[in-house]
Symmetry: C2
Subunit: 313 residues, 2 copies
DNA sequence: CTTTAAAATACTCAATTTGAGTATAAAGGA
DNA sequence: TCCTTTATACTCAAATTGAGTATTTTAAAG
């Protein structure tokens, strides 16, 4: 077993793809190119010591944004990823960066990620399109399954992923939901492959190649992560109010939090400290401005930064 | 930004590396080659539709083991990974498989992972070598740091990773601990690079290339995962007693569990069902044999399969 | 100057979950 | 018959979690 790679057995081309996330106000943003149809990606240049540094340099050169937290997402090397012939290995990263408002001009590259996944935003309750468009079509697909076992299995997946049964909505299942819709032929990307022909389109913008799947992977990872690691920090400006922090988390998670409990947790964990300054109130009583405690940066590998995502509803 | 990859900008060679885990009795095993000095790896053959299928086929051909759960771990493409010249992209996977006892003959390829990380096994309390050998040397390294800020930062990392302060031992930090030892020059692998020269060796077998780091990554991932996903199942035989299940989890986590609470959780989550048969008792009162409920396989993407890893001590 | 809306802030409370026990039953071997 | 080993049944207190009420502070609208 195992072995020296022969000269060209594993020959391939490597490229980087990035899911760069920022939060502006209450919108979770992702950086796109080609009019919102693709994620930034490019060839992997081999003059960097590590992949991660290569990605950092590349992103910062392209976007002029400092990149806070970076994490590897997934590596795809599936056969028909568009390019025929030589296999392309695509190494995908998730990157978090501070609010983007460059200089007044809204950069069109930063899109709300709910543009691509409208069913993922439950901040104002269950999106109507789930009950109206998604579930009925998925049910039809389940009924059309070959055997009885398959029918049941599909039904169970629908119940779990879209909370139609007694289980509550689970915001982490972004990728599973996308894959379910893909298999059911409800997204246009599915048409290219062998899957069932795509029905009339569902709301939600498609992307080129498998970029929407990559975005789903990034969203799922980030949503899972904010529950036990203080990564939101990377998305916040140097000083912020607690409500702004809460709104940022809500934007990412796609659901509302209980304000009092959110604050209880935040100060139990001693993640922030007062700056002494107050915010230019945007309506009500002025709020204190906080900053992250410097030790958080070090401890970030550890503490259980659980966030009180509220339950069923 | 972004772009068509040019002809040879991202040229590279791809190889697969696998961390294959099994549990026999109370030993967590990992499949190795070259007399326990390396993880199985080989060139990535491009005639498979997806990476994962490629890995599966490759592993099953090499080891004649059916592969249960497979998950991508990490992709390395760092410059000086041994081979000079062309960059090698190494895509690493974690794979779980059933108990290995092929036919009586103990396969020497399956090694206890604590052979490589003796400080990670806390099942019989804190390993003596931590207090005796590791912490003193790490402290010396911290004292030798250039600035005061660096000294403090190193001290904090030691406290968190090796539970010297008031925080409890966190079994998930396998990778962080390895990297700390690496930076401190306490593992022989560090000698090759720029890091401080390795001291007289610490207990724990080293591996070739960066395979020990990859193993650490796999261990960390698996330890984190068993807490919220029912992946242990992939490691168990078709029928097993609850104690055997508990021992398997303990083997992976490297710590003891509270028996009664473990069982409470197991049946709250309805993960198993009785087979009706009893085990050939190994000493005491015979135990019932259980099997996993078939639905678990489907739901495995979901349920919070929390395991009661016991606290501080 | 009063009213109102938008927040911040301070508490309370019940239900669950968690960690850790004690007590008892069943089996086999010395 | 005693002893060891394991299974199994309960109990209990502490901590955590989810959800609520009540009160205060400010800016802006009327």
């Amino acid at each position: 077993m195992a072995v020296e790679p022969t000269a060209d057995a594993g020959a391939a081309t490597a490229e980087l793809t990035a899911v760069l996330v920022a939060v502006t106000g209450d919108a979770p943003r992702v950086l796109t190119i080609q009019d919102g149809q693709a994620l930034p990606s490019g060839p992997f240049e081999s003059n960097h010591p590590t992949l991660q540094l290569g990605l950092r340099a590349w992103v910062e050169r392209q976007t002029h944004h400092p990149l806070g937290y970076v994490e590897q997402l997934y590596t795809f090397a599936d056969k028909d990823r568009g390019h025929a012939g030589a296999r392309v290995i695509s190494i995908c990263y998730l990157g978090l960066t501070r609010e983007t408002r460059a200089s007044g001009a809204r950069d069109p590259g930063w899109q709300s990620w709910y543009r691509y996944f409208p069913w993922e935003d439950w901040r104002d309750g269950p999106p109507a399109l789930i009950a109206r468009a998604i579930v009925p079509r998925l049910r039809a697909w389940a009924r059309a399954a070959p055997g009885n076992a398959t029918k049941r299995a599909r039904g169970a997946r629908i119940a779990i992923d879209f909370a139609t049964g007694d289980t509550a909505w689970n915001e982490d299942l972004v990728l599973q939901r996308y894959e379910l819709l893909y298999e059911a032929g409800l997204v246009p990307e599915a048409r290219r492959r062998g899957a069932a022909a795509a029905d009339s389109a569902l709301p939600g913008t498609a992307m080129l190649h498998d970029h929407r799947r990559i975005l789903a992977t990034g969203m799922a990872r980030l949503r899972a992560k904010i529950k036990y690691r203080p990564v939101v920090f990377e998305l916040m400006p140097p000083a912020f109010t607690l409500l702004e922090l809460q709104r940022a988390v809500e934007a990412l998670a796609g659901r509302r939090l209980h304000k009092q409990n959110f604050r209880r947790l935040i100060d139990q964990q001693q993640l922030v400290e007062e700056t002494g300054q107050m915010s230019a109130a945007t309506g009500g009583r002025p709020a204190q401005l906080f900053r992250f405690r410097p030790t958080v940066l070090l401890e970030r590998a550890v503490a259980g930064t659980k966030l009180p995502l509220s339950r069923p509803a």
